[in-house]
Amino acid sequence: MTTPLLEVRHLSRSYGRVRAVDDLSFAMARGQITGFVGPNGAGKTTTMRIAATLDIPDGGDVLVDGVSVLVEPRKVRQRIGYMSDQFHPYANLDVLQYLDFFARAHGLRGRRRQQTVRTVASFCGLTGFADRPATGLSKGMGQRLHLAKTLLHDPQLLILDEPAAGLDPRARIEFRALLKELAAAGKTILISSHILPELGETCDSVVVLEKGKRVVAGTIAEIQRSVQHQQAVQLRLLGEVEAAEKFLATQPDVGEVAVDGDRVRFTYAGGDEEMAALLARAIGAGLRITEFGRIEADLEDIFLQTTKGNLQ
């Protein structure tokens, strides 16, 4: 059995009376993209900063590749790339000089440094901007430069705090593509974002936090199953919506029924066999059904269902 690349163990951190992180535990397997989701003040950034060795927990520990952030922070730093939610590049440096500086700071020397800088710049689509001032880049290109800097020392784990915040739709799509390429290259990524549909498309698993506590964690499919005790089903009909509503109200395992134009949505507690029988009965009752299917909960639904919107 392989050890997880990131293991958060009973992590706690308080700022005065505010408990930012409260007995938080979760693990991330290698090569996984995990979304870190929660309302503002849920403790996402605090957890990420602790994992990045930039903060210290009051209790618990974080292990990166089996190395404790408390005991051997320098070894941890070699294994992680942390992209904070702030990016303020140096004045009077162009893009290549900026990357070259960080490559030097990571101990890269000679040809290897030059090669790495070019490779990373090319990967992040910065080649055409190499001689532009780092402070003169657009928000989207700035985030690419920020990511490029994070990749220079080839870290195993990337911790990205709100990387897509403030990006326009095109930049977001391009950035998402970059993340997918990184995951394909074997990087493990922990990413926090408020843009949930994007996380849903990018992530293998999510950890939902609220008031510093883990609300739910796992793959999106697992969470969908765990939060949807009663599945939601949707019908689309040619007319006869009221008849369909009356019909469903008399059927076993059918819960709440709601009408929305030519659609009828209802909760259903039965299994697949029962659902097939229900469809057959509906057709037998003369309902002209054009669509029939489950409504899968997306990340936004999961988020709304699992969190209460409590802020601290």
Partner: protein, 516 residues
């Protein structure tokens, strides 16, 4: 991506890099980046142009007034050095300050700390950049300085001493500026740090310009070069500047290090190195005829240094942080020996006592080597020194007790450091207020003024003050005795951490043996 590849990226990387690139690999990355930024910045361009302009003006003025003679170049040299002073004492440190501030504001410093750069290397890089800027500014003014030599009146040793001092002062001022910039990590300290730095550097620059411009600088250097005290004075200036730079670098490093990382050991090592190095300087550079005066002064100054460091050491958090605990030496004896160097106010008190034991021991051993001898030192000096120490012990104990009442966060460490001098003020003021409001006037010293160190020492030093002396010494000694259990607790925490590390290593070793 629509933009085409920039030529610099498109060009192939040569198999063998040029010498300059290979050399730059050996340099501190911060130094490389700071110089890259500085020479591209507007400030550098403007100051260089300004210095060149002043150069030309000075050259024209000197040429128009030149009448030959043996001192024709003095004016030109004074003017050139006076132009260099604000560049080195104000502009270069200010740039280091701005650079550090912008790194703090943008969270860039965290990104740097995530790399392989350690705090001390970051500070060293910035000091190195200051030295490079010194060379650049010097090269701008070098034609003028060379002309002043050729016009006579200034010899090469004078130029060498002046420029060496300029370099040392520039680096010291830059380290001060970096340390001041890092105070900005605490928002409340930001304006104070800015004002302190601007005032300090501004007045130092103006003072230096006046000193050089008046011609006094060259006269003093000329005297120094002919004097038998050349070694003593130059080594004192150099050692003082190096010690100041090292201390400022430690301050900067402490601010850059994480709150829970070990910020204390560097300072404690610095403190405990100060007495042996100071006495070594005295016995190496100070002539025997001066030692009777220099040794007591050095001892007294070292005592004051110990008291200032004591305030910082006894106001730390009590316990070892998880990170420090994880790096305590495993060997029990080594751990016990390292205890006084590790963070924590109990261990800080022990370190403070160790410092004064070391200082007194060195003084006892080395003082007889002076003409007068330790035992023959003035009685009043001995009384003032020991009473000052007793008061230091009393107030540090009170301060430590006060720190213990405050929450165990870093902010309250700073809070306690401000409160401790206030304790002395309160100890002085309250009895005076009592006298004024209740007795009707401040007539004479009484035991209510015992916590007023200034007045009490003044009374106790006299021959008639034996009872007061005894009381103060007893109180001071009593305070140290009261601290004994806490100091033992501090030691035990370290040995326990060492034992935990040994136990952890013992459990890991068999596990790896099984895997092997």
């Amino acid at each position: 991506m629509t933009a085409e590849a920039a030529p610099v990226v498109a060009a192939p990387i040569p198999d063998r890099l040029d010498l300059l690139t290979r050399l730059s690999d050996r340099l501190n990355p911060i130094l490389v980046r700071e110089v890259q930024q500085a020479v591209k910045g507007r400030v550098f361009v403007l100051t260089v142009l300004g210095a060149l302009f002043v150069n030309v003006i000075i050259a024209l003025v000197v040429a128009s007034n030149y009448k030959g003679g043996a001192t024709g170049g003095r004016g030109a040299f004074d003017a050139g050095l006076a132009t260099l002073a604000p560049l080195l004492l104000f502009i270069v440190p200010m740039q280091a300050y701005q650079s550090m501030q912008s790194e703090l504001r943008g969270g860039m410093i965290e990104q740097l700390l995530m790399s392989e750069l350690r705090p001390l290397r970051i500070v060293a890089g910035k000091l190195g950049a200051a030295m490079v800027q010194f060379v650049l500014y010097l090269s701008v003014l070098s034609p003028l300085l060379a002309t002043s030599y050729l016009l006579r009146g200034v010899d090469l040793p004078t130029i060498a001493v002046c420029l060496s001092c300029a370099l040392v002062f520039c680096v010291a001022a830059t380290s001060f500026a970096i340390a001041a910039a890092l105070q900005g990590m605490l928002p409340a300290m930001r304006p104070i740090a800015w004002l302190g730095m601007a005032f300090g550097l501004g007045s130092a620059s103006l003072g230096m310009v006046g000193y050089i411009g008046s011609g006094q600088c060259l006269r003093d250097v000329g005297w120094l070069l002919r004097s038998s005290e050349f070694g003593m004075v130059t080594s004192a200036v150099l050692c003082g500047a190096i010690a100041g730079t090292a201390l400022m670098a430690l301050v900067a490093q402490a601010y850059l290090a994480h709150t829970f990382e070990n910020r204390s050991t560097g300072f404690r090592v610095f403190l405990l190195l100060a007495p042996p190095l100071s006495f070594a300087w005295v016995y190496t550079f100070v002539q025997a005829s001066h030692r009777d005066d220099v040794v007591p002064v050095a001892t007294f100054l070292l005592s004051l240094l110990g008291i200032v460091f004591g305030i910082f050491m006894v106001s730390e958090q009590q316990k070892l942080s998880p990170r420090v605990r994880a790096h305590v030496p495993r060997n029990a004896a080594l751990a016990a020996c390292s205890s006084i160097f590790l963070p924590g106010r109990d261990r800080g008190m022990a370190c403070w006592i160790a410092y004064f034991v070391l200082l007194a021991g060195l003084a006892l051993v080395l003082w007889p080597a002076t003409g007068r001898g330790f035992l023959n030192m003035p009685q009043s000096f001995a009384r003032v020194s020991t009473l000052t120490l007793a008061y230091a012990a009393i107030y540090l104990t009170l301060g430590k007790w006060l720190r213990g009442r405050l929450p165990e966060t870093v902010v309250f460490n700073h809070g306690a450091r401000f409160l401790m001098p206030l304790l002395v003020v309160v100890g002085c003021l309250l009895p005076l207020l009592f006298d004024v409001l209740v007795i009707g006037g401040v007539d004479n010293w009484h035991f209510g003024h015992l916590l007023n160190p200034f007045w009490t020492i003044d009374r106790a030093v006299r021959d008639s003050g034996a009872a007061i002396r005894g009381l103060v010494w007893t109180l001071g000694g009593g305070c140290l005795l009261v601290q004994l259990p806490a100091m033992v607790r501090g030691l035990l925490e370290v040995t326990a951490a060492a034992a935990a590390r040994r136990a952890q290593a013992a459990t890991v070793a068999p596990a790896s043996a099984v895997e092997g």
